[in-house]
Symmetry: D2
Subunit: 376 residues, 4 copies
């Protein structure tokens, strides 16, 4: 039997349930979970803030595991086209089922808006199988995009970025940072911290992080932020003034929003210079409205504002490559504040919600190696 954490319903206590070993169809993979992240989305799921979630679910959308078994037939291939091998350490794109045939996939070239996509740990039900990462094993269905971790790149290092890294990589790419630009990041959670690092890997001239609390701001500094502004001690007008002081009065060239707070959006427009770019990636749930001045904040500013939704296989593939290549420069694992066993998942959720940790991981084998799954 395989143990997994189940979220039965919004607000209901998490449970650990035992599942049968799944029958693997051709092209499927059984992954022994090494670790799975706890992210802000998991908190939103528990509070019932996302639409279309087929509770009960097994949370955990970004995970790393070791390939335990394949379905019958040829082994599936990784994103690079190489055949996978049992024993390999891999991650995978949590989005499954992007159709490749709908208007968004073919004409709009915006596959993150494909209506057929499902997400491991979010929109796939525990009634249907081991489709989340807070479990000893994960069932990867045929067609899931698998990315091996390179030799010498620790799985914990990758999970230190978690879903924040491909999310930030997508946002930072949309930001089109030019060499020497001042990049401002709103929010110091995992997405914001990853964005602050990635800005340096685009040759930013300076990186400013606006956020809190202390534990996160300390991480921002350790990971290279040139200036950190604490929202607990600085009013909005003081933050604007501080940013203008270090940008010749202009504001940031590129701003990345990663807060989840609607009022951050008009503030971000004002923190950005005229003719700059502003990427909004932190508004993943409906937290209400915001008010802005279209003349001052948008039209006269000649501002470019880009909403950024979701990730694709390319973002995960590129995240792995970037994190591995610059691992000596950025000590990723320091972002992990704490690891939790399956039986501690409720506490992990609480710690993340209270922002007591920077990054939290669920590590199923924390108290010993997970047992080999017995045949059903």
């Amino acid at each position: 039997m395989i143990n997994a954490v189940v979220m039965p319903n919004p607000g209901a206590p998490l449970e650990t349930r035992a599942f049968d070993r799944p029958a693997l169809e051709p092209g499927a993979i059984l992954l022994r979970t090494l670790g799975s992240e706890v992210c802000g989305t998991d908190g939103h799921l528990w509070k019932g803030q996302l639409a279309g979630v087929p509770y009960p679910i097994i949370p955990g959308h970004v995970s790393v595991g070791e390939i335990a078994a394949f379905g019958p037939g040829e082994p599936p291939r990784d994103v690079d086209g190489a055949p996978l091998r049992v024993g390999q350490t891999v991650t995978f794109l949590d989005v499954y089922g992007t159709c490749g045939r709908c208007w968004y996939c073919t004409v709009g070239k915006a596959s993150t808006r494909c209506p057929y996509r499902k997400v491991y740990g979010v929109t796939m039900s525990a009634d249907d199988g081991l489709y989340g990462g807070w479990a000893e094993y994960i069932h990867l269905r045929p067609g899931v995009h698998v990315v091996p971790l390179p030799d010498g790149f620790a799985w914990r290092a990758f999970l230190a970025g978690g879903c924040g890294m491909p999310t930030a990589l997508h946002a930072v790419s949309l930001g089109e940072i030019a060499f020497g630009d001042t990049v401002l990041v709103q929010g110091a959670g995992p997405v914001g911290l990853c964005a602050a690092v990635l800005a340096q890997l685009r040759g930013a001239g300076q990186v400013i992080v606006v956020g809190g609390p202390d534990v996160r701001l300390a991480a921002a500094r350790r990971f290279g932020a040139d200036l950190v502004l604490d929202i607990a001690t600085l009013a909005e007008s003081e933050r604007l003034q501080a940013v203008r002081e270090v940008t010749g009065g202009r504001g940031a060239d590129v701003t990345i929003e990663a807060t989840g707070v609607p009022s951050a959006v008009p503030e971000g427009m004002r923190l950005t210079r005229d003719a700059g770019r502003y990427v909004v990636v932190g508004q993943y749930t409906d937290a209400g409205t915001a008010t802005f001045n279209p003349h001052l904040d948008l039209n006269k500013k000649h501002l470019d504002v880009r909403g950024c939704w979701g990730s694709d296989a390319g973002h995960v593939y590129r995240s792995v490559r970037v994190m591995a290549r610059y691992a000596a420069q950025f000590p990723w694992t320091e972002l992990i504040s704490r690891e939790y066993g399956l039986d501690e998942a409720q506490r992990a959720l609480a710690d993340v919600a209270a922002q007591r940790v920077v990054k939290a991981l669920i590590v199923p084998a924390r108290d010993g190696t997970a047992p080999a799954p017995s045949a059903a």
Copy 2:
């Protein structure tokens, strides 16, 4: 003496004043005005809605004239590099003094945000000279960007677009329309109508215009709009439904805002499809705030929103070329509802404010050829 319309102060009646013929410095041009447009900005100027205007001014920022004289020395050159000739019919970029040396000009590559730019008819004072188009002659200072009208292209045809054409050309270019896209234009004034035409000259698959009143919507239809939605008879929800019906439920691929009304901006975000582009070009004065939902309207939509401010010499040059090339297809002069002499300028302002006309021109020589300016 040279007659010119002067706007002494916001709200004060327009006057016709006589000016001496200006002394021309090397590189300067004296232009005999053939026509100058009346645009929404002129109304804003009269209502005192723009900051930094050095009243008294001679209104009229986009104009066409015949070259009457040059300052001493070599004749200045047009944007193509060819020497200008007395007698040529030309237009010019109303923006003067873009520095080419500031941060926005050199690093930011956003010359429309250069702090040194001045605008004929808007931010240049009548106390300093003939720096507006509602005058028998205009004094082009050295360095003004001059664009000749091609042989066979009537000056009235160019002025039928007026400042709306380079403004729309900038906005439509930012919209990055792809072949076959559905393009929605909010607003049926000169900018909106020009945008609706230019969308067809980007190969749009269908063009929708949302606006009013009837006289403008009729023009929209005559100039090729496939669907026209009247804001006087359709509620916002009905407009949204109508747009979705003709776009497979998705909304417009690209939307161009040209209304001046803040609430049009959140509506435009919703009228645009997920992962579409929305260009905001109509918010030229501060008309207040608007409220939107960052999650639904921006982040989850993966929407790209682009503020668009000002025009440069390239926009004017390209406008002339496009209007001349496609003059057989689009009967530009039909956009001109009425022409006014210098002494009728006040009435022209009122007609434009009341939206009784599509495009109004000031034609100084309306009652005969303007007299040759006598020496001072």
Copy 3:
């Protein structure tokens, strides 16, 4: 039985063979062919100039047909997501099997370089089924991208563009034409003519076509080219001079190569202005090498040269929308010089090779409606 033209081997005479009505798998479509084009590729196929062709094949890659039957289960959907209906007139992307999983599909975002793609009429064998358009019926396998023709848009009009239209649409899109640009097209075959039309639908300021022979140049003029240069009467240096004369000495802003002749490529680099863009789309077979000067033709010119390979579903979808929207302006069917029955296919091939025709179609029902396919 269903009649189809078969190309048994390079150089061998075409044959008409009778095929059984295919068994339709779920998601498959049987299309009654209304028409299929004869294009340059068919000539290359007959001369054996393409690698990897599984002879025997049924030629004909771009076709229009009427839906005759579906495989069992739900009807497949079109690119817009709407369910298809028996009796609908549709075209389809000739490329089948793009995987959506390989590196090029997921990371490189260059699906036209997906190694798994096959092409109807080119790389699918007649031994396997009715996989080409020169046949009374075509078997569309599950997953083929189907695009209905809009009501009122004649199927002949669409085929007048044929594969040239999505190919040109891809190339012209890559050319990033700005309003008012001078666009030069090398080659006056179907791709070149389509490019010359599409340039006008990007607001080009002038369109120059360099090519031959007379029948094609006449078509270029009829479809709006402002200047036509005949390679039979003008030497390369004269062509360069003629282009410079109408471009202020600079050369074309954007050049589209559609010739198939290697030496056209360095010439095209020289015909394009400094800092312009040059799209090479006509070199579809290996016709040898070309020599250029990297300093003069590329580096000092600050030239952008873009190779353009293949089309995807978006290109076909957009082609249909554009051709239908602007059908009143461009009399597409005039491009069709002649139609041929299945039994005249050899002659069609010869006429195309000799450039005696602009566009040639195979129309299976030319001598009467195709019989309903009898059950096997």
Copy 4:
């Protein structure tokens, strides 16, 4: 008197000449030279390989100096808009006189192709003044774009990049490197080494340098290249194989050419993957032709090839910011192999030509502080 190195004519020995202290016009700056680079262009100048050079010239186009004096009137401003101060350490864009009015400046937005631009040390004559960096003082004319070096950023560190840094920054920007891309650099001279560093500051997944000789390849390794291929020991086919081995058989995602050798261009096309980008920046003089296959190397590859010419003020400004921000990570000054006094300029030229040094500087005050220039 002010001493300066003069190159009287191609091939003629360099001389040291004494110049009067220049009269400074309003807006001009007298710069006391701290250092000036010796670059490949200086060798080309001495060999007479550049057209339009008004010998005699004072070589040295990229330089750093201390502001010694201003012309009358207000002090000029730096690129950021701040007033300059006597005693500040600054560099400047070597390109002077970009007009801001011609077609390339206004419409083409390609100011590096402005026909009016002149270059310090290259196309400005010693007969006209102190317009080159191999001199105790440099005369900056009004309008020269000046960029101060930030506090704590050593001038030698900036000159270690020299003109190679803005050149590479332009090229790498055109390369549009995505996170995790494999970037290949052809050539290990100053431009190539800077490109290899900048690729890492775009988040490249791996950086490959192909070049020689040993002294340069050692520098490439020290500055982070993941793989170095020596053209002295590996044949072209071996280089291709080596690149394919580390790129899943595909080739580099982005290649930057910085060699000056024409045959490197077709090789670079083949070293780049299908649908990749290839930037050609090293072909600064006419060194002959190259042969390629338009079908295989360009069209079927769907390759994007971009010529890259010149730098502008933004490139210099961004270079300064990037080099200063990442100075701890990249020990720039290690690139400087040797410094030479004015009297050693001939030897410096020889050492650069023989590739005995990575970067060579002319340091006028090498044997003591330069004397204050006496009044004329």
